[in-house]
Symmetry: C2
Subunit: 225 residues, 2 copies
């Protein structure tokens, strides 16, 4: 295992990655359903108590063997990243919807997704900050797809109207590149059109640039978040 | 029950609200621990499979009686809001850390909180979009505390450096009010200082203003998200 500022190159073969995805993906998906049920349940008090005890027992068993810290981003020798703990796209993270983001090398990224009760802000609407969370990720992926992965420097969000919970789409593309800065723009839309617009500046910070230069054998990651 | 654009006045007495909080709060907290464990577990495949089956069974029991849609914002005749499904502060929402936000009528809001593995973006750092999510909520609460609850109109985020996972603080205050627009500013900080700065404009949209004017008996909500 090679470490680069929290990026772990573990050389796990593609086949083993597929096996792990098939194991952990459905587990996280089950937890997403549980999160939704806990918000909306009207079960009897006794059932709630029992549920809590059972959940604690499951957690305890899962924690018998666990990583010391957060998941980080792992990647293998082929450069395939596994940001499985990521709050937006993480396969193992029940907080992530998760978005399955498509990218093209022209610097475009997009995703179709569904947000339920867990992403609510104003009644029946997506939380404004959840829209920001998703746009940050998709704009950042557009910057990475365009060849310049970076961390968010600035993000500007303009809310045109409330975003209803349900089926949504997020799209972004690179507007321009100026030295270490990549400018990306994008939006979230429902079936009736755009609800939130965003502009972001993504920058590969100096510490990361220096690490990438020092690391002769390491491959650069596909993206930073 | 009185309905006002998804705000439900249900006249639940304070004592019953306290009882529900003591029932649902610990349940959601247990799910937060489970979310973390699912990201970090290195348990055997058989244990993972068993966990998934047990979680599905719990979800099924909780769903036997449940609300038709998202939680919304409920409030009683005393005007106390219960945004229990909210993605940042929701007592029943395992996606929410949850933040316990303090407010004062001078238009200030602040919260101390801890973010773990589920909020990761770049390795060991808070996802830039999660910082945006939290700032949107806290700036909005400052606007509400200042007497002008509203929905986010514009939000600008400036990332000064990576925000480490762990103990953090978010603060915001109203900078100025211009008609229906409230301008709030704030930041997230770790022990070493500010990591992300934000400015937001919060607006009570026309449809909401009209509803509040039409609703003679209804009390205005404390905030919109």
């Amino acid at each position: 295992m090679q470490r680069m500022a929290g990026f772990v190159q573990d050389d796990v073969p593609a086949e083993e990655i597929a096996r792990q995805a098939a194991l952990y993906g459905p587990l996280a998906q089950s937890v997403r359903e549980l999160v939704d049920a806990v918000i909306r349940t009207e079960a009897d008090d006794a059932d709630i108590e029992t549920a809590r005890e059972e959940i604690d027992a499951i957690t305890q068993r899962l924690r018998k063997q666990q990583m010391a810290g957060p998941y980080g981003i792992r990647f293998n020798g082929e450069g395939h990243g596994r940001p499985w703990g990521n709050a937006v796209v993480g396969l193992r993270n029940a907080i992530a919807p998760p978005l399955e983001i498509h990218r093209d090398p022209a610097g475009r990224a997009w995703a179709d997704f569904r947000l339920g009760a867990a992403y609510e802000g104003p009644p029946s609407l997506v939380h404004g900050g959840v829209a920001a969370l998703i746009l940050d990720q998709v704009l950042g992926e557009a910057a990475g797809a365009g060849g310049k992965p970076g961390m968010t420097g600035t993000l500007i969000l303009r809310y045109r109207r409330g975003t209803p919970l349900g089926e949504l789409r997020c799209e972004a593309h690179v507007d321009r590149v100026e030295g270490v800065k990549t400018f990306a723009v994008g939006h979230i839309a429902d079936a009736e059109g755009v609800t939130v617009e965003a502009e972001g500046v993504f920058i590969l910070p100096r510490w990361a640039r220096e690490l990438l230069e020092d690391e002769e054998d390491g491959r650069p990651p596909e993206r930073f978040e």
